[in-house]
């Protein structure tokens, strides 16, 4: 199989990395910036068990106060508590990348991140890349390059590319391939994903940070 030229995909901050994930969540699990006036999420309180805790989650620029069980993943809370179902469930064990979101601007598997660990972090989901009712540059590139078939892994692929371009606005082809190597596509449209990432880097005006 093709060799990884830098041979450190696991530590690359362009892509998803399990090692990177571990260090990031342990560092940020504590600080809970209590924001007054944060909108309450409805309905979830009835589901949370006795050990539920209230957390403030900053998602796509707005902060929500949510009651969660400590074991709930960020993926579950984003989808079922907040209703942002653009982030997909593929394996729930950090193998496929369908659940990729940005945490403080870096791509992370939201199935391996507990919601309580994401408190105080800036979370960006696929919905957060929209510019009003228009597609963001990475989304537009994926549509134009037909970098999808069934589309189920696509939000994750797009978030991986978004994260890559935030840290490396002009990636080489090999950097792109490594950047999306944590995202499986069973329909096999990788070639178009590479093209879309290259196109997105041309389309995208780098805004800096998350």
């Amino acid at each position: 199989m093709p060799e990884d030229p830098e041979n450190k995909a696991g530590e690359s901050n362009e892509g998803i990395s399990r090692r990177g994930f571990l260090s990031s969540v342990s560092a940020g699990a504590v600080a809970a910036a209590a924001l007054k006036g944060a909108p309450e999420a409805p309905a979830q309180e009835i589901h949370a068990g006795n050990k539920a805790v209230t957390i403030n989650l900053s998602v796509n620029g707005s902060t929500r106060k949510i009651l969660v069980e400590p074991r709930w993943t960020l993926l579950y809370v984003l989808r079922d508590a907040i209703g942002l179902t653009g982030t997909k469930i593929g394996c729930e064990r950090g193998e496929c990348g369908a659940c990729t979101v940005l945490i403080d601007g870096k791509p992370r598997y939201s199935c391996l991140t507990l919601a309580v660990e994401a408190e105080g972090r800036a979370i960006t989901t696929i919905e957060g890349l929209l510019e009003g009712d228009k597609l963001g540059p990475v989304q537009r590139a994926f549509a134009e390059e037909d970098a999808l078939q069934c589309g189920f892994c696509t939000p994750g692929q797009i978030m991986a590319v978004e994260g890559l371009l935030r840290s490396n606005p002009n990636p080489t082809l090999d950097q792109i391939r490594i950047g999306v190597s944590g995202n499986l596509c069973r329909c096999g449209v990788y070639k178009n994903v590479f093209n879309a990432a290259a196109k997105a880097s041309r389309l995208r005006v780098y805004k800096g940070g998350a």
Partner: protein, 768 residues
């Protein structure tokens, strides 16, 4: 006000002529304006924005979550189930076992039925034992763990040869033979081998491949009295869900509404109703609340299908001039614990001209997960044997593999006994070889380093891919020129919606932006068969074209009357119908519709039957360039080229995307994908996406080209298109195997060809 009602009352007296099928014939398109272009998908926005709602994304008020307790043993008998602890767990709203009301349901067919929804006799690791619904998925899984089951663990067998021995554990009452051996004979193979100058025999094995589709299997259920709405992750809202569900539950079809607008991949594994749908429906009845039941990734790896293994012994006879005289194939396989199709013999009977063919196939039940249809069932497997054998014969005859295949080309289907509507094999071989630079590649030196370069090719066809009736499309044009298509067909990622809109836009001469499609909802859209067999495109789009044509004809008849010109002098330009000979003669659509007192015109397009005397099959030839690292055993695919003949290309962009994807899946079949069973426990070792290796971004070549071969097939249907999803996948793995042989000079009979196998082959070669 009364004037308004007077006018309205008056208008009710005017007659309205609904569109009727005209009696003249629709002609094949000459040039096309939209069809054939590279266009983004019509639903690309929804899919890249995260707005597309897949089954997994359906969230309903009061909805609860289902989870399944599965047998952890390869073979066991359930002695007792104690759900008392689970019932008192937080959030639990319903528990289902085989003893629950309505749960005694036969499953997997057969007479008597092979099993039940919950069968105490568990025949593989993953058979269903009980199910739970709770307020959160976490609570549901907690409750599953709290159910106490007493199992009598039974001896198991996981390989087909041991399963047929007299002392093997008995999996079914009738024994372990999976039906009667299948046998097919054409001509006389003995005579064929007697005529041959060269005779070769070789055994080829393939491993079990798992579908591993992105979205797991599952359903969301909502009852309203005895009417039900099912959001199902399915390849067919009608056949694969509505009809099976209604029959199983004793409901009228129209009480069952099934919706699946977006589906995250199936590859054949979602062509039948899942137990999860029925379990969710029963849980939902019990709980009085909607239930979402999605499987875990592990459950999908174990329980909802795979491509069965094969042990194929292929004997071939050929004359010195390269003429095939006989092909004899024997295949032994296991469908798993329950019956499933697993035949691999069709390609041997059909792909090359051969008067004498014999195929014998037999299977045995084992204590492993059951097979299901998987992208061109039997064909990539059959190609693995046939296409390696073709290369072996060519080498023996000192012929070029492409030349040897061309020598045995036929434009007549030997199984259907009629000519092909278009016989693309020859053109795929010739054009594909040209595109790949086959002659030049074969002349290249192998290299002196430990990295050996190899080139290989293989061909294939797909037996279906014609599509056919019944398929219905409702095409509806509004007075402002906007068009809505309604079709029951699925878009499982192939781009069905996009090509349907393009065909309607082409026929109606309106911009693609004017067309909207509503699909895959049994309450709203007309019947379509399931999306399998590469039949959706050629099944649906001729119906769409017919519907659009009926609409156009109706409007043209109105315009012809108003403008006093013949209908064939008319065309649609912008929002008007215009006379070609005198463009001053025109009416806007608005005017025409108003003059007839209508706001829309509806054309019901039915798929016409296929020609009676033609066989319709898509073809392909794939070419691979690879590198083998003889020190590590790694195989790197450097370049792939596909030439695929699937009739008219509707959308060049989605065509290419489909072929890339088919080849990537073939790359996995050749090199990385394999279900690994533990012989000591009978359990699957790699029931996850970490250990089961689906090709990733670093495994696929960037250099990857697709050549559509269009022979202008005007006979297959009114659009001239054939299916693509499966023929795009059939030859790839065999082409890579042939390239590996070219690189290292040892034939990789067994797949997948992993590093260890390469090193073993090389050391075998060294030993001589």
């Amino acid at each position: 006000m009364s004037e308004f009602y007077d006018k309205l009352e008056e208008s009710f007296r005017r007659s309205f002529e609904p569109a009727a099928p005209p009696d003249d014939q629709m002609q094949p398109w000459g040039g096309t304006r939209i069809v054939g272009k590279e266009l983004p998908r019509v639903d690309a926005f929804e899919r890249v924005s995260g707005k597309a709602q897949y089954t997994y994304d359906v969230i309903l008020p009061e909805m609860v979550y289902g989870a399944t307790l599965r047998c952890p043993h390869a073979h066991a008998m359930v002695k007792s189930i104690d759900t008392s602890a689970a019932e008192n767990m937080p959030g639990v709203v319903a528990i289902l076992t085989g003893k629950s009301p309505g749960a005694d349901i036969p499953w997997y067919g057969g007479k008597p039925p092979q099993s039940k929804l919950f069968d105490p006799h568990c025949r593989y690791q993953g058979d269903e034992v009980a199910a739970v619904a709770a307020q959160t998925p976490y609570q549901a899984w907690d409750a599953v763990k709290a159910i106490k089951v007493e199992y009598e663990v039974l001896p198991f067998v996981i390989d087909e040869e041991s399963a047929l021995k007299a002392d093997a554990p008995k999996i079914h009452e009738g024994g372990n033979a999976a039906g009667k051996p299948m046998s097919m004979r054409r001509g006389d193979v003995e005579k064929g081998f007697a005529e041959a100058d060269v005779e070769l025999e070789e055994t080829f094995c393939t491993s079990v491949q798992i579908h591993a589709n992105g979205e797991v299997h599952g359903s969301v259920i909502k009852w309203d009295g005895n009417k039900i709405t099912i959001w199902d992750s399915t390849q067919g809202v009608y056949d694969a869900c509505m009809i099976s569900f209604a029959r199983t539950m004793g409901l009228p079809y129209n009480n069952v509404r099934v919706i699946c607008r977006y589906m995250g991949g199936g590859f054949g594994s979602k062509l039948e109703m899942g137990k999860y749908t029925v379990m969710a429906a029963l849980l939902s009845r019990q709980a009085g609340r909607p239930v979402k039941m999605m499987l875990s990734r592990e459950e999908t790896m174990l329980c909802v299908g795979n491509r069965p293994n094969a042990k194929m012994t292929l004997k071939a006879g050929v004359k010195k001039d390269g003429t095939l005289t006989a092909l004899q194939l024997t295949n032994v396989y296991t469908p798993g614990a329950y019956s499933a199709g697993a035949s691999v013999g069709f390609l041997v009977q059909e792909l090359y001209k051969c008067p004498n063919v014999m195929v014998t196939e037999s299977g045995a039940y084992t204590n492993v997960g059951r097979a299901r249809a998987f992208r061109a069932p039997g064909f990539p497997t059959g190609a693995w044997a046939l296409e390696q054998m073709m290369d072996m014969l060519a080498e023996k005859l000192n012929m070029d593999p492409v030349e040897f295949r061309l020598k045995n080309f036929t434009d007549v289907s030997q199984t259907r006994k009629m000519p092909y509507s278009s016989a693309g094999l020859k053109d795929c071989l010739i054009e594909g070889a040209k595109k790949f630079g086959w002659k030049e590649a074969k002349a290249m030196p192998k290299g002196d380093s430990h990295i050996k370069r190899g080139f290989g090719m293989a061909a294939g066809l797909w037996m279906m891919g014609s599509g056919g009736p019944p398929y219905t499309a409702e095409v509806r044009m509004f007075a402002d020129g906007g068009v809505t298509i309604k079709a029951g067909a699925m878009d499982i990622g192939t781009g069905t919606k996009t090509v349907a809109c393009m065909v309607a836009a082409e026929e109606l001469d309106v911009p693609l932006e004017n067309i909207r499609i509503i699909n895959a909802d049994t309450a709203l859209t007309p019947y379509a068969s399931s999306s399998g067999g590469s039949m959706t495109l050629p099944g649906l789009v001729p119906a769409v074209r017919r519907g659009a044509w009926i609409v156009k004809r109706q409007i043209f008849e109105w315009a012809a009357g108003a403008l006093a010109v013949p209908t064939d002098d008319l065309e649609i330009r912008g929002n008007s119908v215009v006379s070609r000979s005198n463009p001053d003669k025109k009416r806007t659509l608005e005017e025409l519709f108003r003059s007839k007192g209508v706001m829309d015109v509806i054309g019901i397009g039915n798929r016409e039957p296929n020609p009676a005397n033609k066989a319709i099959m898509p073809f392909g030839a794939h070419f691979a360039e690879i590198e083998v690292n003889t020190q590590t055993g790694e195989v790197k695919v450097v370049r792939l080229v596909a030439a695929n003949e699937s009739g008219r290309v509707i959308n060049r962009k989605t065509f290419e995307c489909q072929v890339f994807g088919g080849m990537v899946m073939g790359l996995g079949y050749a090199l990385t994908e394999k279900r690994v069973m533990d012989r000591r426990t009978g359990k699957m070792c790699n029931a996850n996406l970490h250990d089961y290796k689906v090709p990733g971004a670093l495994d696929v070549p960037v250099n990857h080209e697709v050549l559509p071969v269009d022979l202008q097939d005007n006979e297959c249907n009114n659009v001239g298109c054939k299916g693509l999803g499966e023929p795009a996948h059939v030859p790839t793995a065999a082409a890579i195997a042939n390239a590996v042989y070219d690189a290292i000079g040892v034939r990789p009979n067994n797949g997948p060809i992993d590093s260890r196998m390469i090193l073993e082959l090389l050391s075998k070669k060294k030993r001589g």
